[in-house]
């Protein structure tokens, strides 16, 4: 089957990072990103240290640099926004390569870029060492309501099916001489969007029947994810603790 979304970022492996329970990785990644965001923008060195930390963790997880680089494409919209900032902001001007730009704007741009990059890299490391399946299990351990997780799980499961249905409808339109460039034919697209909705809705109804006939009464069964051990947590806190040290130092230096 097509997209293989379950493994788009995930890379199978046996690194220590792969083996760490998902809930530990989730908590570690989230707290690290929060610390990065909370770091004062003027302390440029702190972001350099963060970068080293993330890359070190990526190395432990044997995440190839190529994967990280691909992930950074996700960041493109932020980059465009950041590039504009120095030109749009007011205040003290500085010369960069002979062009006069706003100093605060430059700092703001760096701030957006550095934080977005670190955030993206952290998520990339998490995503390439944890399958979606494990992420959901980790969230379950972290007490996210099971019905929400079931919805997320269904989304993952049926994405391929719905995308496949969408593609078949597109082919069916094209096969009957549909030309997407003509505005007059926009109606056909609207109609197939409606049809896609109805089909997905009917699919939902059939899936519901299948669930009911296997004894479902409204509660998703427990997935039985094992709890993380103290040793797991001890390994998991290394990154956030290092991050917290950097963040504190940055705040002290900024005063």
């Amino acid at each position: 089957m097509g997209a293989g979304h379950t493994h788009a970022l995930y890379r199978d492996g046996r690194s220590p990072l792969h083996r760490l329970p998902p809930q530990v990785k989730l908590v570690a990644a989230l707290s690290f990103v929060l610390l990065v965001v909370a770091t004062p923008r003027t302390q440029l060195w702190a972001f350099g240290v963060y970068l080293v930390l993330v890359l070190a963790v990526a190395a432990v997880g044997r995440v190839p640099l190529r994967t990280l680089r691909t992930g950074l494409l996700l960041e493109t919209p932020f980059v465009l926004f950041a590039v504009l900032l120095p030109f749009l902001s007011r205040g003290a001007q500085v010369e960069v390569l002979g062009v006069s730009v706003s100093e605060t704007g430059l700092l703001a741009a760096f701030n957006v870029l550095a934080k977005a990059t670190l955030g993206t890299l952290t998520s990339m490391v998490l995503a390439s060492t944890t399958s979606i399946r494990d992420l959901l299990k980790g969230l379950e351990r972290l007490r996210v309501p099971r019905s929400l997780l079931a919805i997320a799980g269904f989304m993952v499961r049926y994405l391929d099916v719905v995308v496949g249905e969408m593609q078949r409808m597109r082919v069916a339109r094209a096969a009957r001489g549909y030309d997407p460039r003509s505005l007059l034919q926009a109606r056909a697209v609207a109609a197939s969007a409606g049809a896609l909705f109805v089909r997905s809705y009917e699919r939902g109804e059939r899936v519901y029947l299948a669930m009911v006939s296997r004894g479902w009464t409204g509660a998703m069964p427990d997935l039985g994810t094992p709890a993380a051990t103290a040793a797991d947590w001890a390994r998991g806190v290394v990154l956030p603790v290092a991050g917290a040290a950097v963040c504190t130092a940055a705040w002290v230096a900024a005063r």
């Binding site: 089957m1 293989g4 379950t6 979606i132 399946r133 959901l136 799980g153 269904f154 993952v156 499961r157 049926y158 391929d160 099916v161 699919r203 059939r206 899936v207 029947l209 299948a210 669930m211 009911v212 006939s213 296997r214 004894g215 479902w216 009464t217 069964p221 427990d222 997935l223 039985g224």
Partner: protein
């Protein structure tokens, strides 16, 4: 015949969908323990509607369904759904969990099976359909035939007494179709198989029913029914070109 031997009894079952369309007009049928029965009939005959009554997913019309003597009603639903396993036509409707093993575990987990017992049931069900090597894969990465077999396993894991299959051979290539037949023949269960595939019915089921216009119009040995040209023609049933039910399988 004792009541215990009658695993499935349907009496005077009539049903109209909420939009007013009447699909069943008084269906009667009886299945004995261990029987394998084919349910034949043209498109729109009401076969799927009937199947959905057998474990109480649809109800509310006239008549009654009894499973191992137990009337299908709100009070008995849980027990009935454990005893009657329904395999839907489209495996994508049946397989909704992120991995094969979790999907197979869904039914027994709903019945309260946990831990080691649950693992054992999942493994056993997957082994019976020859899919144990794929336990941890997402269903969307399997071939259609493999998904169909996993769909059968999801129901087997509930250890049902009656297996109801809605068009199990549709969309399968000849090899997958044969593999599924081998799986179904290896099961020691009462089987009701809805199908348009008449040679398949003959191969798997000694007895067949013909449903048309919401009533059972014929009931007998599959070979006899398939040899009755007038019956087949009257109910829009057609044998594949060149297929001779008299000689097939003999």
């Amino acid at each position: 015949m004792s009541a215990a031997e009658r695993v499935l009894e349907v009496e005077g079952l009539a049903f109209a969908y909420p939009d007013g369309h009447q699909a069943l007009f008084g269906v009667d049928l009886r299945l004995h323990r261990g029987e394998r029965v084919a349910l034949l009939g043209p498109n729109g005959a009401g076969k799927t509607t009937l199947a959905l009554h057998l474990n109480g997913i649809l109800s509310g019309g006239a008549g009654q369904v009894r499973v191992a003597g137990l009337p299908v009603e709100k009070r008995t639903l849980k027990e009935v759904r454990r005893r009657v396993g329904l395999v839907f036509q489209d495996p994508d409707d049946q397989l909704f969990m992120p991995t094969v093993a979790e999907d197979v575990a869904f039914g027994p987990a709903n019945l309260g099976v946990r831990g080691h017992d649950l693992e054992h049931r999942v493994h056993e069900a997957l082994r019976r359909v020859g899919m144990e090597a794929h336990a941890d894969r997402p269903p969307s990465h399997l071939s259609y035939g493999q998904r169909r077999r996993v769909a059968v396993a999801t129901v087997l894991a509930m250890e049902p007494e009656v297996l109801v299959l809605d068009e199990p051979s549709s969309n399968l290539d000849p090899a997958s179709r044969r593999e599924l037949a081998e799986v179904l023949l290896s099961l020691d269960l009462t089987l009701l198989m809805v199908t348009h595939d008449l040679p398949y019915a003959l191969e798997l089921c000694p007895r067949a029913l013909v449903l048309d216009g919401g009533v059972v119009v014929a009931d007998g040995p599959t070979r006899d029914l398939l040899c009755d040209d007038a019956l087949l023609r009257a109910h829009r049933l057609e044998l594949p070109f060149g297929f001779d039910p008299v000689r097939a399988g003999r």
